[in-house]
Symmetry: C3
């Protein structure tokens, strides 16, 4: 039986992003590439705030007219959209290939403090696994033997809890209940046979409100031994939601630095929502519905459809999207203050780009 590969080559997405970034600083790659947008008129207007700046050097300017104020606001909104996907330093959730040792998949995780660029120019203090927020994506198969070496370079003790995995108690990662805390400078090793498939997570379980808030979190995806035919997908995408001290983020970045999801028309996209924050985030996809197939890694007995999926802290929800509708589709948290301000979209916003033409 054919299976979803463990390490799919996300060629189209990477190519897309590189192309987009190379296109130019002021480019609008996603939208322009698809020619789906009629904003030409707007972008040809001189930006209102530029003229305001010029006038400011002379006499006190007259109060701006409503139209000038609207144009100034729109220009800010447009700049945000056109910057998407914006280049920032660092990329989280990168697939971490294991070392093989006597049939065991070995992963090395080092946690340390880094500066993390959430949006262009906004750097924050982060506590990261391997310098990434979210930490590197671990992806294994049900039944695999896994060893995780943790090296703690933080000034605090820590520990890793594998959230959703039904491990032997002594591998559960809760200091003083199942293990001692891993002190600054110390190492600790977890080892287990992966018991249950699904979209899981790993994160600190020590001083966790602070440590997870600062970035000590990542996706732990377990492929089933056999993928149900109905669950086969062409694109498999992890989307980690967060709302801690880094602001509202998807995979560690705020719009316009979020990564678009890209597929061809007719393809099936699997999205694995994971909430590592403190708030619910009802994720709304424009243009197409989502079919919910799993909760916390467990198949739902009957898949069901929605366009807005409420994801609570600690939850994981897996959905399939049949990409029937070509275009660039807004995809965002529907708590609107998590997604848009008077200055334009920010935070928990990305896009699903369905490229026209048969896959």
């Amino acid at each position: 039986m054919s299976e979803t590969p463990l390490f799919p080559a996300p060629a189209s997405r990477r190519t897309f992003l590189r192309t987009g970034a190379a296109a130019a600083a002021a480019a609008l790659p996603v939208v322009a590439a698809l020619g789906a947008c009629g904003e030409t008129r707007a972008s040809e207007r001189p930006a209102a705030d530029t003229s305001a700046a010029q006038r400011a050097q002379a006499v006190p300017p007259p109060a701006p007219s409503p139209r000038e104020k609207a144009d100034a606001m729109d220009a800010m909104h447009e700049r945000g959209i056109k910057a998407f996907p914006a280049r920032t330093e660092g990329k989280g959730n990168q697939l971490l290939a294991p070392r093989m040792e006597s049939g065991i998949k070995v992963f090395d995780l080092t946690c340390e403090e880094v500066q993390w660029e959430v949006e262009p120019g906004r750097k924050v203090k982060a506590w990261a696994y391997n310098g990434q927020v979210p930490g590197p994506q671990i992806r294994v198969r049900e039944g695999d033997r896994v060893r995780v070496h943790l090296l703690n370079k933080l000034p605090e003790s820590t520990a890793i809890h594998f959230h959703g995995l039904e491990l032997p108690n002594d591998q559960d990662g809760v200091p003083f209940i199942t293990q001692p805390p891993v002190k600054p400078g110390e190492r600790y090793t977890y080892e287990f046979t992966v018991p249950n498939a699904g979209s899981h997570m790993y994160h600190s379980h020590h001083n966790s409100a602070v440590q997870v808030g600062l970035g000590l979190l990542g996706a732990f995806v377990v492929e089933p031994r056999r993928v149900r035919p109905a669950h086969r997908a062409d694109v498999d995408y992890v989307m980690v939601l967060n709302d801690g001290s880094h602001g509202y983020t998807l995979n560690g970045k705020g719009f316009p630095a979020t990564e678009p999801l890209v597929c061809r028309q007719g393809q099936t996209v699997r999205i694995r929502f994971m909430n590592e924050g403190m708030m619910i985030h009802p994720m709304h996809l424009h243009g197409m519905h989502m079919t919910v197939i799993a909760k916390d890694g467990w198949d739902q007995p009957m898949p069901w459809k929605c366009d807005t999926l409420n994801v609570a802290p600690g939850e994981r929800w897996d959905v399939l999207v049949k990409a029937t509708n070509p275009g660039t589709w807004a995809f965002h948290c529907h708590i609107l203050p998590h997604a848009e301000s008077e200055h334009g979209m920010f935070g928990m916003v990305t896009a699903l780009v369905v490229q026209p033409g048969v896959a």
Copy 2:
């Protein structure tokens, strides 16, 4: 096959409301009409705060006794209940009949600033479609050709997103992604064939945290070509939840100005919950359960029952209530500070009135 009419005549509800309002300023129409309440003793007591006011003109009054304080609080609570349903200026969510043009259903939506009376005497600034909060209810059938003319009389640009409809990308209403913003004073026309049935919404997708918060939102209900027999209802009710700058509201009004749901015993009531706010609202119905049949316009594969339904921002949930239990039943958000203060019920509270006798 018989179908739910597109424009049901809500005669009983209107009659009820008119009767209620005419009954008198101090009347308790819903409760009194049904004789279901034993509050006579309470209402015959002189209101404690009246006596307090009289005493205040003489010497410094003695501190009120616990009983006097309790009576004063209860009197405030009673006044709120007895005022229900309170008359206010303006009514949102009114069905908007389309103009027919060559087989196309045409709707005109003008957005402009108005003063909106949320509760008796509390007027707020609102940005409204056609002067209503929520905007007028659009109700069409799957497969209909629809044209929506938008006229923007606001001081800001805007745009309409048809939330839940799987439209062609250029009708999706997201400025700078699928269209230019509609500037102050400008017009814009949307036109599409309605692709999917269900309880949907329309709202601004420009500066949306502000614009939707101020009232640029409405229900867009799409009747299916064929109604499932199990989904037939005698009463079909849209309940838009909100929590923005207007406070906690149901269909744009706070208790006691909210509208009761009225039916006869034995009837089936369909309620379409739609959350246009920023918070979850777990809606609790007293006396009877709700059978959940659809999420975001999509049938649930197996209906399920509850008495408290958590509705997150952007979500729509359709439920059926079999009105077996006669009486006036409180129906409210169960986040209690959204529904009651020391001054009595307010905000997200209404009632389901099941009139005794076979329908």
Copy 3:
């Protein structure tokens, strides 16, 4: 057909707790008893803050090293865990045996102000039924005739709403809609035949944001006439979630004063989550999944699995846990600031203790 007994003897849990408490002030009963923890090294280190206190009496101490700071934090975390389950005065949610009068099950509920010890040493003002927070657990069977005598010793009026029970309207407990408020010093009697099975609640419906927040709430569990074989459980546990003026609590207590759930390996544990607060609480169980069987007392049409269950205010969710995995498992709200601070775990944290060996 065999049925779940109405008044199961929770012998193992009580014995466990007594043993644990007797073991010693500084003991770590749950963890130590199971030998599941490798914290020996940590607990043998001298606590960093003790040495700090000693040094403070001499010359100004040097700034603590990162390791000393980490040790000090860890010591605080360890003390919290080792204190669990901590002894406090008062225990809520105790099963209330009815008096039988002519075949009617009679319950007496007196509400009055008490001091309630939420955690060791932290006493708060509470308004309690029979001196307990949550109030005593009422557990009856579908079809039972029940009479509840309420005596109000509070300085405010009150009333009892039986949340989830489909009662005749005049027993619904909403002042000025279905009954007069019950004044300070007054009595009121509810009487009804229990119409529907499931995990329900009773609480004040008068000035409820304040009164329920202060503790006027309890579980009202209705056993079905016949328990579905698939729903049979060895342990039946009610977990009332709250977040009002008493802080984040499970059954009225904050960690480490929360009560562990205890069972033997192989047993089935039924947990009845009930949210009496104002916030969602996504409850996360480590080590095993939960199978969701009912919502608000109504069977789900198809049970489904999860490890993190989002419980909204007013909701009740019933789950079964097959206790296959021995050990002490953290069980907590996954909104991390509800469960852990820099000083260690607190609030909505408990543990599921699966004792090894066949039941």
